[in-house]
């Protein structure tokens, strides 16, 4: 049994925390496949502004979403210091462009507080809750709602 699995059975889970601008977010480590540096993406026609384009991930075509722009914040100007979190979202593999990966956290469900009610519907749709750790506030992100999903396309 891996460490991560052990934590889960103990009611704990591991999260990867990352920084975008002056805010911190985290995602479940189980959905993260790898973390890699920024490479220039091929822009897609008619794509929403937060889709930076696609890159080649060992032969697969990987779409890159600018996390900052996705949340309606300032669009990133990617540099070599930016990081792409390659995540598995349902059957797809997608890349999330963030400023930097900051931490690996082990938390239990008790540590997750509900999203404060000042949040708009938009923020609520991708935030699954917030964590208070050593005076920092880290927003737990629901990856499903960050990326365009197939079901919604059909609609």
């Amino acid at each position: 049994m891996t460490n991560a699995a052990k934590h889960l059975t103990n009611g704990g889970r591991e999260l990867i925390a990352f920084r975008v601008g002056d805010q911190e977010f985290c995602v479940n480590i189980m959905s993260v496949r790898e973390i890699r540096g920024w490479t220039p993406a091929t822009p897609m026609p008619h794509a929403p502004a937060y889709v930076l384009g696609v890159i080649n991930l060992r032969g697969a075509v990987l779409p890159i979403v600018d996390f900052s722009a996705r949340l309606g914040m300032k669009a990133a100007e990617p540099t070599v210091r930016h990081v792409i979190i390659v995540a598995q979202v349902k059957s797809r593999v997608v890349g999330l462009l963030v400023d930097a990966v900051s931490d690996i956290l082990t938390v239990s469900d008790r540590d997750i507080q509900p999203t404060p009610d000042i949040a708009s519907d938009f923020e609520r749709s991708f935030a699954r809750g917030v964590l208070a750790i050593e005076g920092r506030m880290i927003c737990l992100v629901e990856l499903d709602s960050v990326f365009p999903s197939e079901e919604r396309e059909a609609a």
Partner: protein, 758 residues
């Protein structure tokens, strides 16, 4: 290997056998009377039955058994495989396929249909010819008693009456004990399949008194013995009251793996292993030059040729057959004419060997896919390597360049070979179509002849798999709507039997599949009216015939409920077009009123690679499929003409072609680029419309590996797929047809919606 895996293999083999069965029946239908074809058909049903028995698939076994019995009548020349008989058989093959599928997937089958066919098959086996054939065939009675024609006596046969009631009850026939001489010579295959001669002999001994002699003459000296070879044969003398059928059934599952010769002692032959008749003395004076103890299968065949039921028609034929057989027997084994069975078996084996395919293996498609992906990576890596070598300018180090060149060649060769693994003939799909034609023809009461050509044309497996659906649609349409009813055809001075021709051929790196019917053609007036009613075109629109024909591909035409009566075409044709396009193909119609329609599909040979022209548009690298490009040209200012507010046309050899700025239509730039600074790619979309696509520059031609965009992203209008360039970056492959459609006014709308647009 667990039971399920074994079962899966059985079903895979069933599929092959079913294909074999159908192609054999179709061959017979076309007048092929090669005994080996009949044998192949029989073998197919037989092995399905055998496997199904092992898995306890009772429905399948019982149907296959009846089918087999009837086929055996054909095999032993007791049943003439005429068109009517074959119709029943083809339908039985369909039911057998249904039963097999049901056994595999657990679905239900049309029981009434299979019961009906069982009846028809039994009727055939009992010598009742189908209604239509009855007139032309000699009059027969169910009991198989024919008027004793004089020829029969000349042949030395006595018509024999027997009661079918006995047969119907299925009781063991009560036959006077008689002594059979059996020669049993196993082939090595028998042992290879895990059968044991001892067990067979033991089974045989249960039938009656048996004496056995082992023939060891062929046993080589020990040092030359091959442990996997079969050297022994046995001569058995068996006194039994069970009849020849019982003896043969002992060897049922070893039938193809041994030489078996069953004969009544004393030069008499069992007439028939299926019908429990009294053995009838057979005057073999005709053969006496050749055979002292006629025992061969062919002799039996000759005997049954002379079966009273067929005697009248077959007499002349029989005489010549016997003569021929006698000759061939003499030719094949002059010194041992007695053993005509083994001679004919050897002949059959030789024939089989000649027609047998080269050895093959069955591979999981996933494994091949993985290999193809890896080769794709190799191609990309090779390109990357070449590029960096050029960039680093290794002047003088020719060994690197030579090595690279060799690598390039090897890569290309590996790629071709891997692609060839997946290449398969279109035959299975075409064969499936003959079934569709039969079904639709039955349903619509039309008489249709399907002619297929070029079934051995090879295409990538994935293309074949995806071809079945659109082809089925189109065949249905062709028979249902394209062809007229027999009455109308006669009235129009045509053959009442309609013809549908399905052909496949390779043409310039693509496969072209053509479906032609000799029906009434597209009723353009009605199509036009329908399009006007559906607001697809303006009432006064000026359309060419071609454009009208292409209207049937419009989605509006497929939803229409009564379209089949109106246009004669159109049910689901938009679906057909979409699936063809999804394969990177194009479809065209040409139709002549009163003479029929031809649908032409042009498809890529593989979905894995494509020959493309690499171009630059607004600093982006794009790939345009080479097949879409007619020519490239450098526009001159004088050739560019403005048209209206924003349209521009380019004159090419006195015709005007609309210019399409690719960068603009893909939203890569706001303003239209100056055409004079770019290059125009003249492309042809399906429907024949030409457009000049404006790109900034051409980088070159290259074979690219196609990567799916949909796997991780979504479908992008105007983009067919992606590929990876030599520098490791992703390039988009243009969907030329979509771009052309967009330039006609249909906008390339982004289909992706924001997940949480709130």
């Amino acid at each position: 290997m667990d039971m399920n895996e074994i079962k899966e293999i059985f079903f895979q083999e069933c599929e092959e056998q079913l294909a074999e069965l159908e192609s054999g029946l179709l061959k017979l239908n076309d007048g092929d009377r090669d005994p080996e074809t009949v044998n192949a058909v029989f073998r197919a049903v037989h092995s399905i039955k055998g496997g199904a028995g092992a898995f306890g698939l009772d429905d399948l076994v019982s149907f296959a058994h009846v089918f087999e019995t009837t086929l055996d009548c054909v095999r032993s020349n007791r049943l003439e495989p005429n068109q009517d008989v074959l119709k029943v058989m083809l339908r039985s093959a369909d039911v057998l396929a249904d039963l097999t599928n049901a056994a595999r997937d657990g679905g239900g089958v049309d029981e009434a249909r299979s019961r009906q066919l069982i009846k028809e098959l039994e009727a055939l086996a009992n010598g009742e010819l189908p209604q239509a054939a009855a007139e032309s065939a000699p009059k027969t009675t169910p009991a198989g008693v024919a008027p004793a024609a004089p020829v029969v006596n000349e042949e030395g046969f006595q018509p024999v009456a027997f009661s079918f009631d006995d047969f119907e009850t299925g009781d063991e026939p009560t036959i006077e004990p008689s002594t059979y001489e059996i020669v049993f010579k196993p082939k090595s295959e028998l042992y290879a399949k895990g059968n044991d001669a001892t067990l067979l002999l033991r089974d045989l001994s249960r039938l009656g008194e048996m004496s056995i002699h082992c023939d060891m003459d062929t046993l080589p000296p020990l040092d030359r013995m091959n442990p996997e070879e079969a050297y022994f044969s046995w001569k058995i003398s068996l006194k039994t009251d069970k009849g020849e059928e019982a003896i043969r059934s002992v060897f049922e599952f070893a039938e193809w793996d041994c030489e078996l010769d069953v004969a009544l002692a004393g030069g008499t032959v069992g007439m028939d292993e299926d019908l429990p008749m009294q053995p009838v003395p057979f005057d073999l004076s005709i053969l006496e030059d050749e055979a002292q103890a006629p025992a061969g299968k062919e002799d039996r065949a000759a005997a049954s040729e002379g079966d009273p039921r067929n005697a009248a028609v077959a007499a002349a034929q029989t005489a010549s057959n016997v003569l021929q057989m006698a000759q061939s027997t003499a030719r094949v084994s002059p010194e041992n004419a007695r053993n005509s069975q083994s001679a004919s078996a050897a002949q059959a084996a030789a024939q089989q060997a000649a027609s047998a395919a080269t050895p093959t293996i069955r591979v999981d498609l996933d494994r091949v896919d993985r290999l193809i992906n890896l080769v794709g990576e190799l191609v990309i890596n090779q390109a990357m390597l070449s590029q960096s070598v050029i960039e680093n300018d290794t002047n003088g180090t020719s060994s690197i360049n030579m090595g690279l060149e060799e690598l390039q060649q090897l890569t290309r060769e590996i790629q071709d070979s891997v692609m060839a693994i997946r290449a398969q003939p279109v035959k299975p799909v075409f064969q499936r179509m003959s079934r569709i034609v039969r079904e639709i023809a039955d349903m619509t009461g039309k008489s249709v002849r399907l002619i297929t050509e070029g079934e051995n044309t090879e295409v990538d497996k994935t293309v074949i798999d995806k071809l079945a659906e659109p082809l089925t649609h189109m065949i249905r349409n062709a028979v249902d709507h394209g062809l007229e009813t027999p009455e109308k055809r006669v009235a129009a001075g045509k053959n009442p039997e309609g013809t549908v021709r399905l052909t496949a051929k390779h043409r310039s790196g693509r496969i072209v599949i053509e479906l032609a019917d000799d029906g009434a053609g597209i009723n353009r007036e009605k199509v036009r009216q329908k399009a006007i009613d559906n607001d697809l075109i303006a009432a006064d629109a000026n359309l060419s015939d071609e454009e009208v024909d292409n209207l049937i591909f419009h989605a509006g035409f497929s939803t229409a409920d009564k379209i089949s009566d109106i246009s004669g075409r159109g049910v689901g044709m938009d679906v057909v077009k979409r699936s063809i396009q999804a394969l990177g193909g194009r479809i065209n119609i040409s139709s002549k009123p009163g003479q029929g329609s031809i649908f032409t599909m042009s498809l890529p040979l593989t979905l894995a690679v494509l020959d493309g022209m690499v171009v630059t548009v607004a600093n982006q690298t794009l790939v345009v499929p080479l097949t879409a490009i007619v020519e490239t040209l450098q526009p001159e200012a004088s050739a560019i003409h403005s048209f209206g507010s924003s349209q521009r046309l380019i004159s090419i050899r006195d015709s005007f072609c609309p210019l399409v700025d690719v960068g603009r239509i893909l939203n890569f730039r706001g303003a239209q680029a100056n055409p004079v600074e770019g290059v125009a790619l003249l492309v042809e979309s399906e429907g024949g419309g030409q457009r000049a696509l404006m790109v900034d520059a051409i980088q070159g031609q290259r074979q690219v590996v196609i990567k799916s965009l949909e796997a991780n992203y979504t479908h992008v209008p105007g983009i067919a797929a992606a590929t990876i360039l030599g520098d490791g970056r992703v390039a988009l492959i243009l969907d030329v047809d979509a771009i052309v459609a967009a330039s006609r006014g249909q906008s390339l709308k982004p289909e992706m919606s924001l997940a949480a647009a709130g």
